[in-house]
């Protein structure tokens, strides 16, 4: 594990990227930082700019208009970065599959590290997903 990746896992800063979601997943992500779940106590912080981010939480179907922009945002993120697909839309386009507005699924636009299913996933599920991802990367080292 590179030193950069090791530093990232200590306190992952999260950028929330929404492209064509129905807001539910986004609300649940925000719920994670409010008092009930409060992931900030683990050093996870929602940041305002993708240039400060270690983790991209992606929601939504990535429609045709947003596709090139999602790619650009990914390119602007400092590497290494982790990409988490939150919700069925980001995983497989969910109910919107087959619509004329749907572009490619998220994992064909940018590389995805972990998928969190659910429509929307509960905050617990989102936290669990991120924790599993961190464990997986740490496990690689052993």
């Amino acid at each position: 594990m590179s030193i950069k990746l090791k530093a990232l896992l200590k306190s992952p800063w999260v950028f929330h990227l929404c492209s064509g979601s129905c807001n539910n997943c986004d609300i649940e992500i925000l719920d994670c930082i409010t008092p009930r779940y409060d992931i900030e106590r683990f050093g996870m912080l929602l940041v305002g700019s993708v240039r400060h981010a270690d983790v991209l939480l992606c929601t939504g179907i990535v429609n045709k208009l947003g596709e090139s922009r999602v790619k650009r945002i990914y390119n602007q993120t400092p590497k290494p970065c982790l990409v988490v697909a939150v919700g069925n839309c980001a995983n497989s386009q969910g109910v919107f599959r087959g619509s004329y507005a749907c572009g490619k699924p998220l994992d064909q636009v940018i590389p995805v590290d972990i998928y969190i299913p659910g429509c929307p996933p509960k905050p617990e599920a989102i936290i669990l997903g991120v924790v599993k991802l961190i464990e997986k990367i740490k496990g690689k080292k052993k």
């Binding site: 064509g20 979601s21 129905c22 925000l30 305002g48 429609n63 947003g66 922009r69 507005a101 749907c102």
Partner: protein, 400 residues
Amino acid sequence: MSHKVTIPIGPYHSLQEEPEFYQLTVDGETVIDIDVRIGYVHRGIEKLAESMSYHKIIFLVERICGICSTSHPIASVQAIEDAGGIEVPDRALYIRTIVAELERLHSHMLWLGLAGHFLGYNTVWMWAWKYREIVCDLFEAITGSRQSYAMMKVGGVQRDIEDEYIPGLIKGMDDTLRALDMFKGAVLDDPVLGARLKGIGILSKEDALSYSALGPTSRASGVDKDVRRDDPYAAYDRVKWNVITQKEGDVFAKAVIRILEMYESVSIIKQCVQKMPKGSIDSNPKEIPPGEGIGHAEAPRGEVFHYIRSDGTNSPARYKVRAPTYMNFPTFKATVIGETISDATIILAAIDPCYCCTERKMTAVNQKTRKRSFTGDDMIKLSQEKTRRLYKRMTGKELR
């Protein structure tokens, strides 16, 4: 010297929800023009609905917007019931009302929290979202999920509210009432918030009417209209409640409307629980004859409107949706222009658009000097600093 700068806002931002793209033209501190471009969350729902059976459409329209995930299905089932001339059992009507009002509670609290954040009162944000969890828990108990409740069904509702959940529901409402009292004190009596919100972003009654503003945005400008009263659906005509209006039309009035509406919602839910008759919850319609139907419902942000045309098959020939933010967007032209940029954030947020303007992917660069002007974070900072200045001037203390 006059110096025009264009500030692009969006389309992707960190805090909340849908990407939208705003372009503010400013002269010094003053906003002189605004342009909105949308479409980053376009998912082709209307077309998709035409390829789905009536039963599936309800789940699809539920996913138009996660916050109004009851208003859209209600409008949709009403449109289909209108086309098919379907009767709905009384108990189902009451259950629809309860779920719709719970949704209003959660949506208004969510708005209150985010408005607090934009103003630099993060405590309000955390509080509002903390007490919103009470409502989310009730949703989870009654419908099985915290969001996207999947309660509506053509001809009735999917699930009954079992008797064993009623005490929990009433207790939840009492807890919410206590939280509301706290908000009312903390937000409405706070002199700094008053100074910050009163008199900014005024939407006059004439403008509200000519832009056809809807929901709290119009009611804050003295337009007394509410679909729940004017064309009652579900059980709204069987309970007592008031339509809240304010005259001022500024951001403060919009906050007042939302806080007072939450009290009405609590009272509606309590009455519904008492009056709810026993009986079936579903009339099990078999087919939808050819014809047209419309349905509308008062979502937390205003009227949602659904139209269907049926050709006798099991999916509609045409499906049309109009959401309230679509009508409320253009009012920015009347409210933002002439205000300062530090106020623009909260004015844009005041209509409770399915959210906006928190983070911007681009940076404004002055064309002549190539110097960076404002980014999204700077805008929020400007807004928060203004509150801080006011707080210090009015109380002599630092805001922490």
